[in-house]
């Protein structure tokens, strides 16, 4: 490797002190450093580093900041009391902007963020070694002082820009964290706070976001004539993007499904059109199930767009039926026409709506929870009230996947008709 030989050449005669409290990181990085420098000493905390330094000076000190006994900043501060122009490279994680500003105040020659990106690390070492060379050669080139001064000024400017960039990166990381928090609040706010209270309908819901924020959405709201709209939807992907998309989708659904100018199929057409135009700019689609429950008529009308079947318990037949989607997901074609399906409701019927985060949840053996297991659980607990039925599903899921992380949002809605 050309770069390596170049570095080794520059590193001739340079002694390095490397201080890092994490044993694994220290072993790994010191082995790397030994490929460049012949003389590498290591210490596992600031105090040890300082006492090693006091025994013999080092040309370069590379140090972690957060360490027990004496931290990196304290150690370097002590060293600089003795050798003002000690060369230092700090290694630190993205955790605190004050370390960066303190380091700059102390006087630092390089700052590399953990986890270490080795090319960046080598880059910083490379630049510093050139500087060290220049410093020693400076003594011999008194005649070329002017030249050297302008070079050094340029280097300082470059280093300044570098440090500014690092500062920017740190700010971005913090900003992203704040954004996530806001997105989370947005999502918490758009899940329905109030489920329409109805003496004939008992509801139990469960929602769990996979990552910070999810792409699942469910909603309950009244429209004209006392009809209750029930929606469950899932946008492809998850994370900050889909949660913001869902926020818009919620607004669209609430506005359109409550307008009395359009029939139910027309309403879904309009919703689909809006999702299509949104989807042009970014690649996504939304699976959804729309249900309108009329207490007056004792019936539901539903339209499914690419979403998994709704499991409907028919109390008269004592069996579970599947209500299916008749159309493809929203956001793909804007010319789709939708068809309603109507279904009569009897007392003690119930529906289980869910997103594929439930049926596709996997255990350690990569087996999926699956619709079959869900059906079995529902069947076993079909006589229970809605809250106990929900508990039996969530506990059955938990027993199946145990401690394994879920990588998709999980939404379960149970609506029981009394």
């Amino acid at each position: 490797m050309n770069d390596l030989t170049n570095l080794q050449e520059l590193a001739k005669g340079i002694s390095v002190l490397y201080v890092e409290d994490n044993d694994i990181a220290r072993k790994k990085t010191s082995n790397l450093l030994k490929k460049i420098f012949k003389n590498v000493s290591t210490a596992s905390n600031g105090q040890e580093g300082l006492s090693l330094y006091m025994k013999s000076k080092f040309n370069l000190v590379i140090s972690d900041i957060v360490m027990p006994k004496l931290n990196g900043l304290e150690m370097i501060n002590a060293i600089k009391q003795v050798h003002k122009s000690q060369r230092v490279i700090f290694l630190s994680s993205y955790s605190d902007i004050t370390y960066l500003t303190q380091a700059i105040e102390l006087g630092v020659d390089g700052f590399v963020f953990k986890p270490l990106e080795y090319d960046k690390f080598f880059d910083v070492i490379h630049k510093l070694l050139i500087q060290i060379r220049h410093t020693s050669e400076n003594k011999q080139y008194k005649a070329g002082l002017e030249d050297l001064v302008s070079q050094r000024t340029k280097q300082l400017e470059e280093k300044n820009i570098e440090l500014q960039n690092t500062l920017e990166e740190l700010k971005k990381a913090r900003y992203l964290k704040e954004e996530m928090k806001i997105a989370q609040k947005v999502q918490q706010n758009f899940l329905p706070k109030e489920i329409p209270s109805n003496k004939n309908m008992e509801v139990a819901t469960h929602f769990e976001a996979a990552q910070f924020v999810g792409g699942d959405y469910y909603d309950f709201f009244f429209s004209n004539d006392g009809v209750i709209n029930i929606i469950i939807a899932d946008v492809s992907g998850h994370g900050v993007g889909p949660a913001i998309t869902m926020s818009t989708f919620r607004g669209i659904c609430r506005a359109i499904l409550t307008s009395s100018n359009f029939s139910f199929p027309e309403q879904v057409e309009h919703i689909n059109n809006m999702v299509c135009s949104d989807a042009q700019n970014s690649d996504f689609f939304i699976t959804a199930f729309f249900i309108k429950y009329s207490e007056k008529n004792n019936s539901i009308n539903y339209i499914g767009a690419g979403h998994n079947d709704i499991l409907f318990y028919n109390s008269n037949m004592n069996s579970i039926e599947k209500l299916s989607s008749s159309a493809i997901p929203l956001g793909i074609f804007d010319t789709i026409k939708y068809q309603i399906v109507e279904k009569q409701i009897s007392c003690n019927d119930f529906m289980v709506l869910y997103t594929d985060g439930l049926t596709e949840a996997t255990n350690d053996k990569e087996e999926m929870y699956s619709e079959k297991r869900l059906l079995d659980t529902i069947h076993k607990n079909r006589q229970k009230n809605s809250s106990s039925l929900l508990t039996s599903i969530t506990s059955s899921l938990k027993n199946f996947i145990k401690e394994k992380e879920k990588n998709d949002d999980t939404t379960i809605l149970i609506t029981k008709f009394l």
């Binding site: 899940l191 489920i195 003496k199 008992e202 819901t205 769990e208 910070f212 009230n385 969530t394």
Partner: protein
């Protein structure tokens, strides 16, 4: 950080308290490293639900109680009944102020327990909110 939320509606009967405890166990028990703190939460929740069933809903079987929890960096539980609201004076019940005669009065005790075993309790008409900093 995980976020999760769940909501149930129970019929107004003390026999349903068991269902409520089974329901919270799956998501809420794992949040607590120390068993004690989960026990404290169960007591608070049971007090709030019992209050809603007996006082808020006047033990009327036809009424319902809505219970929901929200997990983010804290745990928030809301218990809502169909009553007219809890009298504001109850909010002023403070453990320090109890005189010996008062100890014999039943009504304050449940609220005392809630305030002691929970980080924060908020009463808002017919809705009680419990906040637990589980971390």
């Amino acid at each position: 950080m995980k976020t999760a939320t769940s909501k149930i509606i129970i019929k107004n009967s003390l026999n349903n308290i068991k269902d409520v405890m089974n329901w919270i166990k799956i998501d809420l028990k794992p949040l607590f490293q120390v068993e004690n703190r989960y026990q404290n939460l169960k007591l608070c929740l049971q007090e709030a639900v019992t209050n809603s069933i007996i006082h808020g809903n006047q033990s009327d079987e036809k009424r319902k109680v809505k219970i929901s929890y929200f997990i983010s960096d804290t745990l928030k539980i809301e218990i809502e009944d169909e009553g007219n609201g809890v009298a504001l004076e109850k909010q002023n019940c403070d453990i320090k102020d109890i005189k010996k005669e008062d100890i014999f009065k039943e009504s304050g005790r449940g609220l005392m327990l809630m305030k002691h075993f929970c980080d924060e309790v908020i009463f808002d008409k017919n809705k009680t909110t419990l906040i637990v900093r589980y971390k």
